[in-house]
Amino acid sequence: MKLDIKNENGSAVAKLSGEIDHHNAKELRAELDRFIVTAQPKELTMDLGGITFMDSSGIGLIMGRCRLMKECGGRLEVRDPQPYIRRVLKLSGIERIVKIR
């Protein structure tokens, strides 16, 4: 699991790669929350292009960050999920609260 965050003028992209499950979601959550709270970006995009596996732990991760971004006055987007990860996203109905590109 790898996380690389780039922030330019309040618009941040968090590039995730590897697998998201319950085991590693905890660490990702801590790192992302630390960034959101300290940098207070207006927009955060979670780039899932490098994610090779994700179960419902990823849904919890995205929903939690969406909530925190709203609390901090910003908004979250998700981009580039692989087709099989898009199916998990679709099943959860998360598309109703988070834009997925």
Partner: protein, 144 residues
């Protein structure tokens, strides 16, 4: 039940073993030459079942999780995930989408929904303080 091939695997309820369980299942399925989608569906369902055992079954301590994967006739994959943890008092409620007893861990309550969507059949047997057994089946597409 005629079994063509079978693998049994026991692991302690450590979260790192969620990935190990997926790897075991992936290795076993190589012989069936599944599609990318089938492999992904089964890996995801197994991940959900094993995570449930780690997070909920053994919420009060550590125990063992048994994983059985079988290849049955007609390219049917049978998977059983068994724990001897705290059990589920109300299975129907536990299987409701978005129901979770661990919101502080950001559990989305979608584990059983994912298993049911990605597999053909999911059965849950559980008794308080005895444990939980999840069995799942999926028939793979026939090859030419």
């Amino acid at each position: 039940m005629e079994v063509i091939n079978e693998i049994k695997f026991t692991m302690p309820s450590l979260s790192v073993n969620e990935g190990a369980a997926r790897a075991v299942v992936s290795s076993f399925l190589v012989q069936c030459d599944p599609t990318v989608e089938e492999l992904s569906d089964i890996r995801t369902a197994v991940s959900e079942a094993v995570t449930n055992a780690v997070v909920h079954g053994y919420r009060n301590g550590r125990g063992n999780i048994g994983l059985t994967v079988r290849l049955l006739p007609d390219r049917v994959i049978y998977i059983r995930v068994k724990d001897k943890g705290c059990g589920i008092p109300d299975i129907e409620k536990a299987m409701e989408p978005l129901f979770t007893t661990a919101p502080e861990e950001e559990r989305s309550g979608l584990g059983f929904s994912v298993m049911q969507s990605f597999m053909d059949k999911v059965t849950v047997r559980s008794a308080p303080d005895k444990g939980t057994t999840v069995t799942m089946r999926k028939r793979l597409f026939a090859h030419d």
